[in-house]
Amino acid sequence: MAIAALITIVILIFLQNLLMPKYMSEILEGALISEYYSEDIKDHDVIFIGDCEVYENFSPITLWKEYGITSFIRGSAQQLIWHSYYLLEDTLKYEKPDVVVFNVLSMMYDEPQNEAYNRMALDGMPLSLSKLKSIKASMVEEEKFITYIFPILRYHSRWDELSGEDFKYMFKKDKITHNGYLMRVDVKPVTTIPRARKLPNYELSDICYDYLKKMTALCKENDIELVLIKAPSIYPHWYDEWDEQIEDYASENGLLYINFLKYTDEIGIDFQTDTYDAGLHLNLSGAEKLTKYFGKLLSDEFNLADRRDDEQLSKVWIEKEAFYIDIMEKQYAELEELGYIKAFNSKKNEE
């Protein structure tokens, strides 16, 4: 009996690993969250949390190369504020950074949005109390808690769309990001800026404030500087009314809040060349410009030490730089040859 149970469990674990999506050659955003946990040295000065406006717009490699700051982006597609909070809680179990940077765009969502994004934010986390709480906070109506504990219950029907990739990456995955940064080198200039719809209510919701407060408290407890930012993506529209509320919150709590939308000229962002999807996200060139600007600010404001002298760290980061350049060159080559980048061509990624 016990043996039968054991065999069943082994088979199911095997199947679960096989059936879960791998996100290795498309929908790369799905691979973001889990990458952090396979980092050898979890010692970062700065942790970014937030949605695509962090993992597409900031480059930790640049931050290292320019300022010797170590950082990791814990971003995922349409990461909502409860995801962010619990992700931070989880991260703090592994390390205590000096600064946590949170992108405030998700303050606009006060309820769970979409099963697929929940999955991308949650499946990559190892089982922990934070994860369980995050699941509970995130589920949309059609979702079942247990399917997060046993993802095979969610992905079982993928058996008829398995590919070589699913077998290849069953137990070990490739690295996709550069400390959480998902690189894109292609360009799609801004042509028109969609007009912002009038909203019936500009009040950011209480639920979001609750999580923001919890996040503020958590950082305070751990002696971490919390920095609120709004990345310079011109869409979705960041309303002035929202900006004021965040401004107020920051000053009440003694936090630094930077709305980069106001500094695009200073940063030098050119929306004709620095975005890959007409203004939603920056491309590599834009991200590097923004990172350089922000890095200076960070090291000035918070006295972050330049750690490029640290031999052990340098060794790791040299490898990371090489990988960064490698991917960059591959993307340029694909772009030249095909006119697009394979990994990002299969679907329109809107967020």
């Binding site: 009996m1 043996i3 199947l15 079982h156 008829d160």
Partner: protein, 529 residues
């Protein structure tokens, strides 16, 4: 709480653990509590309905039982002095009282069922007649049918009639009686149990028995396999065809018929497997409800093997009482005198048959579809009864009764006949059902299904592969079952084999089950009855 929901599985596990931890004398109370929890999930108003039925049936059956006791003690007391005539008179007096109570309670129990289930059907019929005269329409009653009402009402009625007939004394403990009516595994879709089969088992107390528990779990797994891997998968195809009668005609109707047969079988027998398996895990043996019905060689045999507890319920509580009631016996006398011995004898039998099948039809659903469905079943049964002498002649001439191919022919004929009648179960109304049925013979579009038609029904190639394997497995299990319980046979062969089958079933349910996001969670078909 659906059988196929995670909540239900959790509920079962918790109940199971507590059940075998507490002293045996409290086990039945736990089952009652569990049934109550299970039922309250479907809404408190539903709890109210079942409670009312339980209370009414309980008190009336007690009263009838008391009258029996009164009668017995009276006869005993006056044993010497009572003349036979007087005794008869006294019995008749008591019986008349009992009858009054019986009728009152029947009217009440069945009345609730009738009002909830048939009011809107009656209204819609009145409205369509009213329309002819331009009358204003009556608005529909806005009540959802309580879960399992047909089943618990029938079970209560059977109990009440049995008490009235003196088959057994009424249960004195209200809680115990309530458990008999509301025992949760069978509440949703049967089987319809009899008190003398089930009662004692529910109250007896059971110690943990490895074989019962493991057999029960195996049975549950088998039920889930049928329900999740087969029924819920093929359902998409059935719905696509039957809900778009303009698009899918001819060969598609045939395909829909076969699909529906598979779906209904896998869904209903799978549900019953789960029910019986759960009861077995608790050490309780429920009556079987199916006996490989699709292997039947005639429609009469089919109805002996399909939904058995419903068939025997109708036989014992409708067919027999009606057919040997004194008006019927009088009719028999009359018709024999006027129509001749041969024909006259048949009149009461067939009349009773028609009554029973109309009742069976309307029980299945409040619509003309089901009434016509019932009457068609009835027609086939009567016709085959009439052809009996012809068959006998045929068989005396050609000795094929035991010929494999002839039997295969009989099985196929019965299957297709039942599929044809069941078409009324699929389409919106009687007219469309018949139109679609005849399109099979007029619309020759056989080629279409292989020109992409099959893949246009919402089923992918992989779905067909799973379905084909699933159906083969079901058939093989049925064939093995002819020699007795599959689980017994597996255990006898070897433990390893038994475990291997168990593991394979479990893993296939998890992997190939049509559940979760992307599939609608489907209620068991029989839930609605």
């Amino acid at each position: 709480m659906l059988f196929t929901s995670y909540n239900f599985i959790l509920f079962l596990v918790v109940l199971f653990i507590i059940y075998y931890l507490i002293p045996k004398k409290y086990q039945w109370m736990l089952l009652l509590l569990g049934s109550f929890v299970f039922y309250s999930y479907s809404g408190w108003d539903n709890v109210a309905y079942i409670t009312v039925t339980i209370l009414a049936t309980y008190f009336v059956s007690l009263k009838i039982g008391q009258l029996y006791e009164q009668q017995d003690s009276y006869i005993k007391e006056n044993k010497g002095s009572l003349a036979r005539e007087d005794r008869k008179k006294y019995k008749a007096k008591i019986n008349a009282k009992q009858k009054k109570y019986l009728l009152l309670c029947l009217l009440f129990d069945l009345g609730i069922l009738a009002v909830l289930k048939y009011t809107n059907f009656v209204i819609s019929n009145i409205n369509s007649i009213g329309n002819l005269f331009k009358a204003t329409e009556i608005s529909f009653l806005d009540i959802a049918l309580p879960m399992g009402i047909s089943f618990y009402t029938f079970q209560s009625v059977g109990y009440l009639v049995d008490v009235y007939r003196g088959k057994y004394a009424p249960e004195k403990n209200l809680g115990k009686f309530a458990l008999f009516v509301s025992f949760f595994p069978q509440l949703v879709q049967g089987p319809i149990s009899r008190f003398d089969d089930l009662g004692e088992q529910l109250y007896a107390g059971h110690s943990f028995d490895y074989k019962n528990v493991s057999f029960g779990i195996q049975r549950i797994l088998w039920g889930f396999f049928k329900k999740l891997v087969i029924a819920d998968r093929i359902l998409v195809g059935v719905n696509t065809i039957t809900q778009n009668p303009e698009t899918y005609q001819g060969i598609y109707v045939f395909l829909g018929m076969i699909f529906y047969a598979v779906q209904l079988y896998a869904d209903f027998t799978g549900g019953i497997d789960i029910t019986i398996g759960i009861a077995q895990v608790f050490g309780i043996e429920l009556k079987e409800n199916f006996q490989r019905p699709f292997f039947s060689k005639s429609i009469v045999e089919y109805w002996r093997r399909w939904h058995i507890t419903m068939g025997t319920w109708f036989r014992d509580y409708v067919f027999y009482p009606v057919s040997i009631s004194s008006p019927m016996l009088k009719l028999s006398k009359f018709s024999r005198k006027h129509l001749g011995e041969k024909l006259g004898k048949k009149v009461p039998v067939y009349l009773s048959t028609i009554i029973v099948w109309s009742a069976t039809g309307i029980w299945h659903g409040a619509s003309w579809n089901f009434i016509v469905w019932g009457l068609l079943n009835c027609l086939v049964i009567i016709v085959s009864q009439e052809f009996e002498p012809l068959y006998a002649k045929f068989h005396s001439k050609f000795n094929v009764r035991h010929n494999f191919f002839f039997r295969l022919f009989q099985v196929a004929r019965t299957f297709l006949l039942m599929c044809s009648i069941r078409i009324l179960d699929c389409y919106r109304n009687v007219g469309i059902s018949f139109k679609m049925y005849f399109s099979m013979f007029t619309n020759w579009n056989f080629g279409e299904i292989f020109n992409g038609g099959l893949l246009g029904l919402g089923l992918k190639k992989s779905d067909y592969i799973v379905l084909i394997f699933g159906i083969i497995i079901m058939t093989v299990f049925s064939l093995i079952q002819r020699k007795g319980s599959v689980r017994e046979q597996l255990t006898e062969k070897s433990d390893v084999l038994q475990y291997a089958v168990g593991i394979a079933l479990f893993v296939s349910i998890i992997t190939f089950g049509a559940y979760g996001i992307g599939y609608d969670s489907n209620q068991f078909i029989y839930n609605q009855f």
